[in-house]
Amino acid sequence: MAAPILELKNVTKIYGSNVIFKNISFSVKEGDAIVIIGPSGTGKSTLLRCINLLTPLTSGEVYLDGHEVNVKGKNEDEVRQHIGMVFQNFLLFNHLTALDNVVLGLTKVKGMKQEQAIEKGRHELKRVGLADRAEHYPGQLSGGQQQRVAIARALAMDPRVMLFDEPTSALDPELIGEVLSVMESLARENMTMLVVTHEMGFAREVADRIIFMEKGSIVEEGSPDQLFRHAKSERTREFLGKIGDLYGKKEGAKKKK
């Protein structure tokens, strides 16, 4: 069996006396789509930021392709190149067109030549269905389009794994679908993904494994079928029931379209 692309061992994050998460361990194999669900404020987003070294861990180990990444002296920029990150509020570079957003990392980080980078940039924009928006600035794009550009920007770096931090939470309901379908097609192409989301429909259909986190710990993990139908923990059933009520209507409405 191949070594996991990403492995977390007992990672813990404590701010002052506030435990954000504690002793989280799991691994992500090549081609896996793993979805993390759980109530707000359980440290899911912080966990993603720690994996990407944007926030330092208090303790524990993170391995990318078998190499520990959060050790002193490790080149963080080098690590981040191999981890794609998509943020809740897109965080596009506001002064650059969609195309230049994708191209910047290619030329400044990967050292690619301008023409080559533009070609790759256009290819990545096409992948997210935005070839015709290449020359638009973020301010001229809808939220859904901005998020797709952000996905293209991350994909362009050819990351080993993509992290999604609630990628649809800041979007109007009618724009969520276009972002989710880009993510679904990535999963079909066997991109390795770790997704924090409240979109249960997406979790159910796309996830290879779902991790349910609450109060900084993993309560339960398993296949979508296990969690949605045969959850062992009472808490998991309760959460999925509640969120199903909340989001069920919206997703039902979306499918009718």
């Binding site: 570079f93 506001n94 002064h95 980080v109 973020p138 920007r153």
Partner: protein
């Protein structure tokens, strides 16, 4: 009087140019620098914003020779105006850096860029654009402040006006002419700055915009 006008423009241009370099360095140090860089920057900004420009000019021209640095009149004026303007420009730029925000830094780092590369390619291009509307006050203010150079006998517009007033016994005419020339320069400078602001504008990138 034409020569004086040209010298006044030179004083303004050099002051703004030197001030921009100093101000940029001070603002970067204050927002992104370590503890020492931050303190040095704060000290510089507060010192030059907190004292009259005339005192600064006299310290440079009459004070520096006391510690063995003797500068001619024009160099003293350039230096004092540049140092003074740098402190003000640092504050305008600092505000713009803060307006761009930490999130853009995070986005840059997430792509794999270093801190410095993110500042250079992501933060700075946005901050400079955001700074323009408020920063544009500084060249206009400095243009008028250059008149202090008169007091160390730099032959600028003010000095020339005074000379003509004495020669012609017509102070009203001479100083009115100077006033009109200052006014015209300020007007043209204003138009130029507005033009710069328009041509560098990027849709959706503005301070009160829906950026966040």
């Amino acid at each position: 009087m034409l020569k004086g006008t040209i010298l006044t423009l030179e004083l303004t241009a050099v002051g703004i140019g030197m001030g921009l370099i100093l101000g940029l360095a001070a603002a970067l140090a204050r927002v992104y620098g370590g503890k020492w860089a931050r303190w040095i920057s704060i000290g510089y900004i507060e010192l030059f914003r907190g004292t009259p420009i005339l005192v600064q000019l006299f310290l440079v021209y009459y004070g520096l020779p006391g510690i063995g640095i003797t500068l001619d009149r024009l160099t003293s004026a350039f230096l004092a105006l540049g140092l003074n303007s740098g402190a003000y420009q640092a504050e305008y730029l600092r505000g713009a850096f803060l307006a761009v925000g930490e999130e853009q830094m995070m986005a840059g780092r997430a792509v794999g860029m270093s801190r410095w590369k993110t500042i250079r390619y992501v933060i700075l291009p946005q901050a400079l654009r955001l700074a323009i509307p408020s920063w544009a006050n500084e060249p206009v203010a400095l243009l008028k402040s250059t008149a202090v150079a008169f007091l160390i006998a730099v032959p600028d517009l003010m000095t020339k006006a005074k000379a003509i007033a004495v020669q012609t016994y017509d102070p009203i005419g001479a100083y009115l002419a100077a006033a009109v020339l200052y006014l015209v320069m300020v007007f043209l400078l204003d138009q130029f700055l507005k033009w710069v602001e328009r041509t560098t504008r990027i849709p959706g990138l503005e301070i009160e915009g829906k950026k966040a």
